[in-house]
Amino acid sequence: MADHTVKAFDEDITRLRGLIAEMGGLAEVAIQDSLEAMIRGDEELGNRVVASDRRIDALESEVDKLAVRIIALRAPMADDLREVIAALKIAGVVERIGDYSKNIAKRVGMIEGRDRFEPLTLLPAMGELAGEMVHDVLTAYAARDPSLAREVISTDAKVDAFYNSIFRNLVSHMVENPATISSAAQLLFIARNLERIGDHATNVAEMVHFAATGSYPPEGDR
């Protein structure tokens, strides 16, 4: 992006992007930690994830304020306006991703008999994939890279496929072991949350594409 005559505007945009990146970093760690807490049964780590979500919320409101201020004071046009609008929307979505991680972390204590609970091994690979999408989309945002954003959008199908296979797997596990239904149901919710994280990463990717090129990615990629 070319420099502007008003230096303060550049500073504002840089700060806005910095805030988004910080939020994204926190969300990425939250996904990873919540899954690790779930697999190890580490409730303390789960509580830390829940606590860190507050920081994401605070950052989101900071982004909101800054974006509104930029629009009010500088009246940005063209790619500057897209940048600010995209930041505003991305902040909202990243905040949701943080919420889903928090939700996963809250379920850590609700899974019983984890030593012998086979379905637990299904989720890490899916979490890995969803986390990778979030990581890639944030990298695409930092680089303003529309092609990486499109790649993220195409990964979402894999996460959905994972979700379907885990869903079937868990349902058949519940049929065979009625005693574990309450734990398995928690895992279903966790898988659902991961699937939603993938969808939201896709939304961010669309916004990144929009901010970089001015158009949404073609429908075929989604």
Binding site: L19, A21, V29, Q32, E118, L138, A143, R144
Partner: protein
């Protein structure tokens, strides 16, 4: 700097006054003129030199601009930040994070919370972060403050070290988990049997005994696999010297692995009769593991083709091909890792230990061979083991019959080389 200032007006005036005074004192006008000339001339020469620059300014221009040159060709990624905005990135850093980082907020480059905490701190420090470029990377970030606004950030890749220690802990954790699971069920059933004693009817107790036997066998095969894996690893560097006839060995080992129930599913496609230098038992184990995998994970009534032929460059090649559901491409790189399972539930249910392909890989490596896994979802998996033959057979006389993957790169010169050796 204006040229007016460089003419020393005061000095010239002083020289003029002095010469006037000299004239007034009756000094020879020629001498006076000479003095005046030398005086003014030397004043002008002195003024022509560039003025001395204040010391502080030199230091300032040194710091940002010469830093660029200083760090540019360092092999570690280095960044210079000014008020937490990236001012300079050297070549290594640009290659790692992309050109776009320059001029951005440092938080865009390092979005990990630990790194951001480090950026905010007003002292020097370091942090270990995950996922700086790719998601599994581990980097150490060292931040050195230069003055109020400027800091130098050094990035060190720690991924390899962490990988080694993680692989080790993973192995120990996995191995103990794998050993504990069958033990737990053996203990459970034995306890039930001994507590309820005679009250159990005989079909139930027979069922329990059956489970105990199955789990004990699983434990036995796991321990057997672990031992052969460690034996193969220990001898990894000495090439075996026995001459082995592959054809007979492959046929026998494949039938062994299939057992009487599954032997009809096997189909042989033997196109050569090579001899290799190898360890008979280990090679048998390779074939057994591959055929067992193919039968276990292939379609339940599909055929498994066991092929033996020569590649164009004269290597012996064993191919095991199934018609199962195939393996997803992203799983293939991990298949030879210990205890790695693409589908943990199914693998355990069919009595797999998770070590089969790891053993195959190590044995093949010991025989200076190559292991290629090629799979298409929905079509099946094809595992090929290539290894050098012991007797040089001219490659031209034995044209490979099956679909040949090895044709892609082998050059004629290499054929000749391997025949001559």
């Amino acid at each position: 700097m204006g040229s007016i200032k460089t003419i020393p007006v005061a000095g010239i005036l002083l020289a003029l006054l002095t010469s006037l005074a000299l004239l007034g004192l009756d000094v020879d006008p020629i001498v006076t003129a000479t003095v005046l000339l030398v005086w003014i001339g030397s004043l002008l020469i002195a003024a022509g030199r560039p003025p001395e620059v204040p010391q502080r300014k030199v230091e300032q221009s040194l710091s940002i601009d010469s830093m660029r040159g200083l760090i540019e060709s360092a092999s570690t990624p280095l960044l210079v930040t000014e008020r937490n905005k990236i001012a300079i990135a050297n070549r290594a850093a640009r290659r790692m994070m992309g050109q776009h980082m320059i001029g951005q907020d440092a938080r865009v480059a390092f979005r990990q919370p630990e790194a951001i905490a480090l950026l905010g701190a007003d002292r020097t420090g370091k942090a270990i972060v995950r996922g700086l470029v790719r998601r599994q990377d581990i980097w150490q970030i060292n931040r050195q403050r230069v003055d109020q606004n400027i800091a130098v950030i050094e990035l060190i890749n720690r991924t390899a070290e962490a990988d080694i220690s993680r692989a080790h802990t993973d192995f120990v954790a996995n191995a103990s988990h794998e050993l504990r699971t069958p033990l737990a069920s053996i203990l459970g059933y034995v306890e039930t049997l001994s507590e309820s004693g005679d009250s159990l009817d005989s079909p139930t107790s027979k069922k329990f005994l059956g489970t105990i036997e199955r789990e004990a066998q699983r434990l036995q095969s796991l321990i057997g696999d672990l031992m052969s894996l460690s034996r193969v690893e220990a001898e990894k560097h000495d090439l075996p010297q026995q001459i082995v006839e592959l054809r007979a060995l492959v046929e026998r080992a494949a039938r062994d692995a299939a057992g009487p129930q599954r032997v009809e599913q096997l189909e042989f496609d033997i196109a050569a009769d090579p001899n290799v230098r190898g360890d008979r038992q280990q090679l048998e184990q390779v074939v057994r593991n591959l055929v067992d995998n193919a039968l276990k994970y292939g379609a339940s009534d599909g055929t498994v083709t066991v092929g033996l032929d020569l590649t164009q460059d004269g290597q012996a090649r064993i191919v095991v091909h199934d018609e199962g559901e195939g393996i997803a491409p992203e799983q293939i790189p991990h298949l030879t890792r210990r205890f790695y399972r693409t589908d943990p539930g199914r693998s355990r249910a069919s009595g797999g230990t998770g070590l089969g392909l790891a053993i195959v890989k190590h044995i093949v490596e010991r025989h200076r061979g190559r292991l290629d896994i090629d799979s298409h979802l929905g079509k099946g998996t094809r595992v090929a083991v290539r290894m050098p033959t012991a007797d040089p057979i001219p490659a031209a006389t034995t044209a490979p019959t099956t679909t040949d993957q090895a044709t892609r790169t082998e050059a004629t010169s290499r054929d000749n080389a391997s025949i001559a050796s």
